[in-house]
Symmetry: C2
Subunit: 522 residues, 2 copies
């Protein structure tokens, strides 16, 4: 009775805040400041270059920053002993009640843009994992490339009317895609500046010839790893070229360079709006819908230069969300068979891909739920945390304002998890950061557990809203053109973008990260 | 009578604020926020790469940012017509009542560290002037180099006790200096990563063999341009090695790397303290002595990533301060003869150099007061402003909260200046930024004119106090060691540093930027 009264009042308050713009803005600011205030503001005193504060640690962004200093943790078990903690047992996977497959799709595309740990190719260069190729910004480098030379290779670069500001693309049927990278299995010379796709050596094996032929020439080395990721990049490619056409029409005197730069400004901001208004709201356990109000950051003490942390590089690995089978265009495929195969996207087309990913549920984040194809990646993630000497999970709980777990039962209410942790760790203080993150129970109304939600939310707001395009004297129509300013205002979610960029009418086909059958639990 | 009463009250208030720490801190914060609040906060919407806002303009720091967008100015005269505006007439120069030669010496060393316009070697590459090699921080790159490879070349790199953390140096008599760059006129291989000194081709002429032999191996390509500049770098070299010895003694377990990094942290912060507490207070027209209180910046809305502007690169060229003759060690030399000749420093030693520079007055900033040796540099500076299409001077007045000059008389009260401007410019709106800056009357109690004072002050505070070493979670004894924290506390001005780093007792010899005979005019 009391709870129901409380809920009625809460519901009314949320509705009031959402319908009264001024109040909504105040509540929005309050929530965002509270979220970001959970942890210390940047600059972080440490990076992975030194175990102490140094000028290099404060300025050399080829190393990852860190929330907590390097702390060796005694009592951590061998990696192989942790495999059973992640392994998904046979039978139906544990499903997430809230998320569709569009959620991990978006998360992967988003984070591939700025979580860019340097790869270690061998045991000998494991120290590479301390470094990063990130630009530390949401700059859509998967679409535009990591640097000026890559951007140049991806642009059409033509000042002809009807071509200004465009990215290179090809039509397959009546669908626009990035050009293919290779000619007869060899990357085209015009794309020499691009990074080779991750796993390119495997793609060159004879049995993968058809996959290789359909690899797209794109800015990101991870775009081709799964057709869902290529799908998101394709959407933004089309949006860029659509906007370029609109800008060119509105400003016939602008050259290729200005049309390109203005379209890029718009696409980046549209993407950030979707990050906050669709993606973050999907994660958030609150019923109040947060908005991408740039002014929240303008005078905030937390508005400090972005720097991706070693912790952030690990906590964003949500392998458990991925099912063992994925359906594309009516056919269910084993996960491993879908990897690096863009034909699944091309066969059904862009809209069908979005509808398909929105029609399938994501699995649940947590232990005992990683698909066999991704199990080794989990163990490598734990190893990565140990190589950069991350503090144990318990220290991060304290850092994020949560109580330090005294018993395994403080980490999870699930007896199976407690038992599995106790079987390998001497005590809660020894639990690896990565393991603890996923061992926790999920937060009510969120697809994520507690510490993860906090750390994702802090970094999401404190690094997305600090984007220079959103800054006080830049976020105005002059930066985006009057036309672009309107396009930004019209963009709130992926469905808005898909609807604009597909020949096929979407009708009432569902595109979204939150399952249509999900209901907020008050 | 009334004015005298007002002055008595003001004097009492200033004394109160300076003697009561809490009030002093509040007044300090108020002044600094008011100063920085004169202009727009960063990020600047434009850089020299595009005439509009673009992702490149917001992120590629090899271009200069800009306070105002590119605005072509009609009616600007030919460069040669402006020469008479700067030329110092024969006879005694106009002297500054406030500054010693230590003031321009420090200004040059300071700004050589972050105002690093790319040189144009010929008419063909004038567009280079849009670019910069700056790290956009007070990082003491003249001492430590612009990048990791240069730093490595400058370090002794020895883990032997008694050598840890040291920069390479040599003893000449009982004075410590940087090693010489060349052996038999050729740069030593160990210094291959360093940038060659500016004007190195000229130094290789046979008549300059002795000069060349005394060129120091240092981080900055401009350190060797004048012995005063090398003098400051020598002081910081000694301070670094002195601190390294102190850190090593306090922490025998620390390796070469940690001792070096910690010493560097300390030297940078000591230098910034001197920038604020000695240099800025020398420039400031207020009687209240501003302090380097890092906490002022921690939550300030103006604490945004540094980015040196095209305007800043020009407004810091204070050639008029330099006299036609400079005295070193008892002998007066024509200015041109002193350039690139470190023997003047070595012959008298470090302390004598500081005493000499403090014993000579600087000339006055303003038109008609540039030494013949520097006159071409003035014209090249005006040309640089035109190449990056700086808005006219009048626009910057408005930008900095000053009234737009309607008549030449609004720029200067000096009839000679008004007449000279009227002889070449059609009206006050056509006056070049660079010319207007120096045509203005000097502000009472400051060595600088009005717009210049404002723009220098804004950038000084908003770019020095945002240094990552001063940030909220970094500025603490852990970053500098307990020993270093004390050394920082003991440092307020150049005299403090010289006294610690010279064998010769200074006694009451005067070292300072403000002439001992100068008095504040109430």
């Amino acid at each position: 009775m009391l709870k129901s009264l409380r809920n009625t009042i809460l519901r009314a308050l949320v509705r009031l805040a959402e319908s009264w713009p001024w109040l909504g803005a105040v509540v929005n600011r309050f929530f965002i400041n509270r979220i970001v205030g959970i942890v210390r503001t940047r600059p972080h005193p440490w990076s992975t270059v030194h175990d102490y504060t140094s000028w290099t640690a404060l300025t050399d962004q080829t190393f990852s920053a860190r929330h907590l200093p390097a702390i060796p943790t005694p009592g951590q078990p061998e990696l192989d002993a942790l495999r059973p903690l992640f392994q998904r047992p046979p039978g139906p996977a544990d499903m997430c009640p809230k998320s569709t497959l569009l959620f991990p799709t978006f998360a992967q595309y988003l984070t591939d843009g700025f979580i860019r740990t340097r790869m270690s190719q061998s045991e000998a260069d494991l120290q590479n994992l301390r470094q990063t190729t990130s630009n530390h910004q949401i700059d859509l480098c998967p679409l535009y490339g990591l640097n000026a030379a890559q951007t140049r290779a991806l642009r059409l670069g033509s000042d002809q009317p009807g071509q200004r500001g465009r990215l290179k693309s090809q039509m397959i049927g009546n669908e626009e895609y990035s050009p293919f990278l290779c000619d007869n299995g060899i990357p085209k010379p015009e794309f020499a500046a691009l990074d080779l796709p991750l796993g390119f050596d495997g793609l060159r094996k004879p049995e993968n010839a058809e996959r290789l032929a359909h690899v797209f020439a794109v800015g990101g080395d991870r775009v081709n790893t799964a057709p869902q990721v290529a799908m998101l990049n394709t959407l933004l490619l089309r949006e860029h070229n659509r906007l370029a056409a609109g800008i060119e029409a509105a400003h016939p005197g602008w050259d290729d360079e200005r049309v390109f730069q203005t379209a890029r400004n718009i696409v980046i901001v549209e993407f950030i709006k979707i990050v906050v208004e669709e993606y973050i709201n999907h994660i958030a356990p609150t019923p109040f819908r947060l908005r991408a109000d740039p002014s929240v950051a303008w005078k905030a003490a937390w508005n400090k230069p972005n720097w991706i942390t070693a912790e952030f590089s690990l906590l964003y690995r949500w392998h458990a969300l991925i099912p063992d089978q994925i359906t594309w265009n009516g056919t269910s495929h084993p996960l491993a068979a879908t990897l690096r195969d863009n034909r699944l996207l091309i066969d059904g087309g862009l809209a069908r891909g979005f509808l398909d990913m929105s029609a399938q549920g994501a699995c649940a984040i947590g232990l005992f739920n990683t698909s066999a194809a991704l199990l080794d990646v989990e163990l490598r993630s734990i190893r990565q945390g140990r190589i950069v000497a991350l503090a144990p999970y318990a220290d991060y709980c304290v850092y994020a304002g949560m109580p330090r777990p005294q018993r395994f039962e403080d980490i999870s209410g699930n007896p199976r998890v407690v038992e599995a942790l106790a079987a390998v760790y001497p005590g809660p203080d020894a639990v690896d950061f990565y393991v603890g993150l996923f061992a926790e129970d999920r937060v009510a109304n969120s697809p994520l557990p507690g510490l993860l939600t906090r750390m994702v939310a802090v970094d999401a707001f404190s690094q997305a809203l600090t984007n220079p395009l959103l800054s006080e004297h830049v976020f105005n129509p002059a930066t985006f053109s009057a036309y672009g300013w309107q396009e930004i205002a019209k963009t709130h979610n992926l469905r808005d973008l898909v609807a604009r960029n597909t020949a096929r009418p979407l009708g009432d086909g569902f595109i979204g990260m939150t399952r249509p059958d999900w209901r907020y639990v008050w």
